[in-house]
């Protein structure tokens, strides 16, 4: 018997470790709509299996909680059980000795509150409120509901034009999205259960990069109705596109020089090449949409004039104003907003930052966009200052890593406190207060607190503020549109503006800054509801036959990731960073699709929405 042994994992433990990984993957691939109590029960059972067994509340209590949840689900409980569950879980929280019991019981307590309706439905009516509305995870997660398995199957067969046509049924901007969509579709891809999600966006990009001028469908017979779309970003373009297809006459009013909204004035060229964006917008305009650029509402034309001249209005003005930090010195020369900088770049007016030290304040995608643009504009050094940790940044992590690879400094846990100016009033430095990460807030993000460390001076020739955008409500205050506390416009989930006849609104101006695909989805919803409002029931469909699924095997196979150009090379130009997949990669990646539109529930219900 040796006194000490080197820890070597035994075979069983290795398998269990793999099981844990599978559990993680499995949970990642949970389709929306499952019964929360059922999921809570099964999670509770997992927790119970982790108990060491020493303490009563955890060893026995978690089991009793599980029994009670089971009773609820089996329709054998009465309402009194809710109190018993509450008391038991609270006792476990209060008396268990370690996190294994405490945390498990806390989750049950949270569930009692947040899915009380589900509990009551099970107890009183022996029924469940959960249901699989859309069983295809990628389609369910895509805000616009694009037929993803459909176009992946088309890409697999080399039918790229048809893939574009099928995407356009739900999203008129396939090329733009192929480059910049945040691809929420991939999050719960069922392939997660096997290996990794399909690289959906890369497959879409292969399709759009291998087609040229796919003709747009015919528009329906003219209805004689006139609609004004205010704001020519992705949402406005989408609404205009579908409304025109439906036979309505649409005019887009855009305050900037060009159409595209944040796709042009927010997203830099190196992510979305300008020629791709221009081609796509031109293609949409071939339908016969009128455009009036450089027109500001409230200045060049009033809202009421528009209301009088059109049968319906769609407001999709986005969120293009900057937010201020409110710290002293912000009005110094050389302090600019990210929105302003990106707007200039969007119109092709690129400043020269040669030799400058630039500090960017913020941790979102826009902060990364300006950081990386500043590098490309010749800055000597770009520092991105953020008051929380890198993993707390709202920017996509690959954006952050991309910026770092290109030489950006990411200074985390530094809260900006004032901007120091020189005698001419020009910015000289940003002063920050180092932070220590603290307790988690209600949204689940840890809060930064002042660290017991002295302030820090970061020399700067230019400070770019990228802490979020607001909505330009000027010109709309007197119209009767309700402006919410956060500066957003009030509209319901059908995009209707309450108490206003024929006025609809959606996208960033209603939700606050979000994503291109969410704006597109809002435009689609608006088109459908405006059409109904005007007394029509036009249907949008694609005359594309989706290939029948082939048998698949479930052998785990690596996901083909998208490659990027060398950081060293790409950081000095605005050319596209991301490389497209090769044909070989495309064929392999598209063959990984599990075709949830057919296999599983898809063949029964909700597998394919042919028209809307």
């Amino acid at each position: 018997m040796s006194r000490l042994d080197i820890k070597t994992p035994i075979q069983a433990q290795a398998v269990v470790d793999q099981l844990y990984q599978n559990v993680e993957r499995r949970i990642a691939a949970s389709p929306p709509g499952l019964c929360p109590i059922d999921m809570a029960l099964n999670f509770l059972n997992l927790c119970h299996a982790q108990t060491c067994g020493k303490c009563v509340p955890c060893r026995i209590g978690l089991g009793q909680l599980s029994e009670m949840l089971q009773e609820v689900l089996d329709g054998e409980a009465n309402m009194r059980i809710l109190h018993r569950i509450q008391v038991t879980a609270q006792t476990i929280v209060d008396t268990a000795d370690c996190a294994i019991g405490i945390n498990a019981a806390q989750l049950v307590l949270m569930g009692l509150k947040s899915f009380q309706d589900d509990y009551e439905e099970h107890i009183l009516h022996h029924r469940c409120l959960g249901s699989l509305k859309n069983p295809v995870p990628c389609v369910a997660l895509c805000p616009a509901g694009v037929d993803i398995p459909g176009y992946i199957a088309l890409v697999r067969e080399g039918r790229y034009d048809d893939a574009v046509r099928l995407i356009r049924k739900d999203n008129p901007l396939p090329a733009s999205c192929a480059y910049i969509c945040e691809h929420p579709c991939e999050a719960r891809c069922r392939r997660n259960m096997v290996d990794d999600p399909i690289n959906i966006r890369a497959l879409k990009r292969f399709a759009v990069d291998h087609t040229e001028n796919v003709p747009q469908p015919e528009c329906a017979k003219s209805t004689g109705k006139k609609i004004a779309v205010i704001g020519g970003g992705p949402g406005g373009l989408s609404a205009a596109y579908y409304l025109t297809l439906m036979g309505h006459k649409v005019t887009i009013y855009e305050s900037r020089k060009q159409l595209g909204g944040m796709m042009r004035y927010g997203i830099p060229d190196y992510r979305l090449p300008r020629e791709k964006l221009d081609e796509e917008i031109d293609s949409i305009l071939t339908l016969g949409i009128q455009t009036r650029t450089g027109v500001e509402i409230g200045k060049d034309i009033t809202f009421d004039e528009l209301k009088r001249s059109y049968d319906c209005l769609y407001l999709s003005i986005g969120a293009h104003t900057d937010k201020k930090t409110g710290i002293p010195g912000e009005d110094s020369q050389g302090v600019v907003s990210a929105v302003e900088l990106l707007r200039h770049i969007g119109d092709g007016e690129k400043p020269d930052f040669s030799g400058q030290n630039i500090v960017v304040i913020g941790g979102g995608n826009v902060a990364m966009d300006v950081t990386r643009s500043a590098i490309r504009l010749g800055a000597r050094k770009v520092s991105c200052v953020y008051r929380r940790r890198q993993e707390d940044m709202t920017a996509q992590q690959d954006e952050v890593e991309g910026a770092i690879a290109e030489g950006a400094e990411v200074l985390t846990l530094e809260a900006p406190i004032r901007i120091e100016a020189d005698q001419e009033g020009h910015v000289a430095a940003l002063w920050t207060q180092p932070q220590i990460i603290g307790e988690v807030d209600a949204q689940g993000r840890p809060r930064p607190n002042t660290a017991e460390v002295p302030e820090k001076r970061i020399p700067a020739d230019l400070v770019i503020v990228a802490i979020g955008q607001g909505i330009e409500t000027h010109g709309f205050e007197q119209t009767g549109i309700k402006i919410q506390r956060r500066g957003t416009m009030l509209a319901d989930s059908s995009t209707r503006v309450p108490d206003m006849e024929g006025v609809f609104a959606g996208g960033d101006c209603v939700t606050g800054p979000a994503t291109v695909i969410r704006a597109i989805a809002a435009g689609k919803v608006a088109a459908a509801n405006i059409d109904e409002y005007l007394g029509f029931h036009h249907e949008i469909k694609a005359d594309v036959q989706v290939p029948a699924p082939k048998f698949y095997d479930l052998k785990p196979r690596g996901r083909v990731d998208t490659k990027e150009r060398d950081a060293f090379e790409r950081k000095s130009d605005f050319d596209c960073i991301e490389c497209g997949l090769s044909l070989e990669e495309t064929q392999q990646e598209s063959s990984r699709c599990l075709r949830c539109d057919h296999f599983g529930y898809g063949i029964f219900k909700g597998g394919r929405v042919e028209k809307w």
């Binding site: 059922d38 249901s131 699989l132």
Partner: protein, 583 residues
């Protein structure tokens, strides 16, 4: 063409042919359970799996096409093991008390378990708990449901009522009324198509046979039974009698043996319906401006419920004539009771119908006699009729043919075709022609409305009245299409016959169940034959009808007819109307 082999036999089939179909075509019957051709091809039960060489996993044969070069095995050890295991899993959630199940002896699951030699069950058996509601004609017992989803599909795709849906998630996924409702709160038409397509006893029509036995046993009560047209061509299917032998006369003899005091024919009431509805049509047709068009038949209660909930604005387009079943009840408890000097409250009227919705129709508040009792006391489906005979150990084969009783037991050829799609229209046109032209048309002049096409259109000229544009439709999905076309003004009809069940009453929800087999066309043919062979082929020539008008009613649409034989379809509400008026 695609070449492959199944169990070593080379096949060559058209591209797109499923493995199940291809195998069946060469006499290899692959066991299957949830599959319903073109309606439910979702491969949920995984019984029909086969092994294809070169694939890792077994594949369902019902919805996978034969591909070039496939080598298919339908009985490999893996396949045998898998389908038996899957069947045992299904049985582990099924209440297998076959002895007390309505579908005992006619259950796809029972049959398959027998065929696959399932004689012991290694799994713990834990059927879903049932909450049974006997206040509605369609009854669901969750403990017998195998979640094949056929009911959901039939209701969605064929009848378009979307009453059933998947409910719950995960391991507790089941079938239930859509949107977490109770069946009684929905616009269910009670057509019963979900029942006749259920492979097990999960969906049944409420069994009311005991109420009939109670009445038969009560010496104070006079029992009357009426038999609907479509029943006579289906009643003996369960006894395996050939259609030639399963005659109406033998059916009457069987009912006599069960002990009914009077055995009458709904055909009599169908002739009466033609007199009233035909006259009503002519009245409307000759006073076009007073009425909304088209006029709709009203004999199918599933259709009436459908119209009232789905297209309520058209309720007044329905003929006010009651259905034959209800006309019969009303005449039985008035004219017949008076004639025989029987207190109507001591009369018990039983209907034998191919229909489940008739059970709801006889309970309507508008279908009562002068004393407030229902005109028809109990409706039995054709299947319950079979059970009635079986429980009294009647052997139809041994019976000599007998005749219906008089005076409500006679019917013309025009009446018997009420059971087939197009029959009501055909019969109505025959008598309408006579009523206007004063002479009979050729009884086969209106052939264009016959046949099992789902939606038929025809124009006929009736001398003295002009051209009549008619349409005939069956199945509620087809009906919805027709109604939408009517509503959009895309079609223009004067008179439309609608039957809720595909193929009409012959394919009714109360008819004998043959798994995966649609019987409407076959039974309909027999009805048209009965018509062709009838001595009397016009409703207005039924002598008992003539007597009834002479002795009692006067003329069609007169006051007495109005009171007894017509109804106000707006005097009761379907659930969706109720919830609207409450809100």
């Amino acid at each position: 063409m695609v070449n492959a082999t199944i169990d070593g036999r080379p096949i060559s089939v058209e591209e797109g042919t499923t493995i199940l179909q291809a195998a069946n075509d060469i006499g290899i019957g692959i066991p299957h359970l949830c599959f319903l051709k073109e309606i439910n091809e979702i491969a949920a039960c995984r019984i029909c799996v086969v092994e294809v060489e070169g694939t890792d996993r077994l594949i369902p044969s019902c919805n996978n096409a034969v591909l070039e070069g496939m080598v298919i095995h339908t009985n490999s050890p893996r396949v045998r093991q898998a389908r038996r295991t899957n069947l045992r899993l299904i049985l582990s959630q099924h209440d297998s008390n076959c002895t007390t199940c309505i579908r005992n002896g006619n259950c796809a699951l029972q049959k398959l378990s027998g065929y696959l030699n399932i004689h012991y069950q290694p799994y713990k058996v834990n059927p879903e708990r049932s909450h049974v509601d006997l206040d509605v004609p369609v009854v669901r017992e969750a403990s017998k449901c195998i979640k094949c989803m056929r009911c959901v599909q039939i209701c969605d795709k064929i009848q378009t009522m979307k009453i059933w849906d998947v409910s719950g998630t995960g391991s507790r996924t089941t079938v239930d009324v859509s949107f977490n409702r109770q069946l009684r709160d929905t616009d269910c038409t009670y057509c019963g198509q979900c029942v006749t397509h259920c492979p097990t006893g999960a969906l049944t029509a409420r069994d009311d046979t005991n109420r009939v036995f109670h009445a038969l046993a009560d010496p104070e009560i006079t029992t009357i039974v009426q038999v609907a047209p479509a029943v006579r061509v289906a009643w003996a299917e369960a006894f395996n009698l050939s259609p030639d032998y399963a005659t109406t006369g033998r059916m009457v003899a069987a009912l006599r043996q069960v002990g009914f005091d009077y055995i009458f024919d709904t055909n009599f009431a169908a002739d009466l319906t033609i007199m009233e509805e035909g006259s009503e049509f002519l009245e409307r047709f000759t006073h076009r401006n007073r009425y909304r068009w088209p006029m709709f038949t009203s004999c199918c209660p599933g259709w009436v419920r459908f119209l009232k909930s789905q297209f309520p604005a058209y309720t007044e387009n329905l003929s006010t004539a009651k259905s034959p079943q209800q006309m019969f009840g009303a005449i039985a408890k008035s004219y017949f009771a008076e004639k025989k000097g029987i207190d109507p409250s001591k009369l018990f009227v039983v209907s034998i119908m191919p229909c489940t919705s008739k059970k709801a129709e006889c309970e309507l508040p508008t279908m009562k006699d002068a004393a407030g009792d229902p005109d028809v006391d109990v409706v039995l489906t054709t299947r319950e009729f079979t059970r009635l005979l079986r429980s009294d150990h009647v052997v139809p084969f041994d019976l000599k043919e007998e005749s219906f009783d008089s005076p409500l037991g006679s019917g013309s050829g025009a009446a018997v075709i009420f059971g087939a799609t197009g029959g009501v229209m055909d019969a109505a046109l025959r008598s309408a022609y006579y009523l206007v032209a004063g002479k009979n048309p050729n009884p086969d002049a209106f052939k264009a409305v016959r046949g099992d096409k789902a939606w038929k259109e025809a124009n006929f000229t009736i001398p003295g009245a002009g051209e009549v544009k008619v349409a005939v439709v069956s199945g509620l999905g087809n009906t919805r299409k027709l109604m939408e076309a009517v509503d959009k003004g895309q079609v223009d009809y004067d008179f439309v016959e609608v039957m809720a069940c595909p193929g009409g009453c012959a394919g009714g929800g109360g008819q004998p169940i043959h798994n995966e087999q649609e019987m409407a066309a076959e039974r309909g043919e027999l009805l048209w034959k009965l018509d062709a062979n009838s001595k009397i082929r016009f409703s207005h020539e039924n002598p008992d009808i003539t007597v009834l008008y002479r002795e009692y009613l006067g003329k069609p649409l007169w006051k007495k007819s109005h009171t007894l034989l017509h109804t106000d379809h707006s005097a009761w509400q379907v659930p969706s109307q109720k919830s609207h008026s409450e809100a």
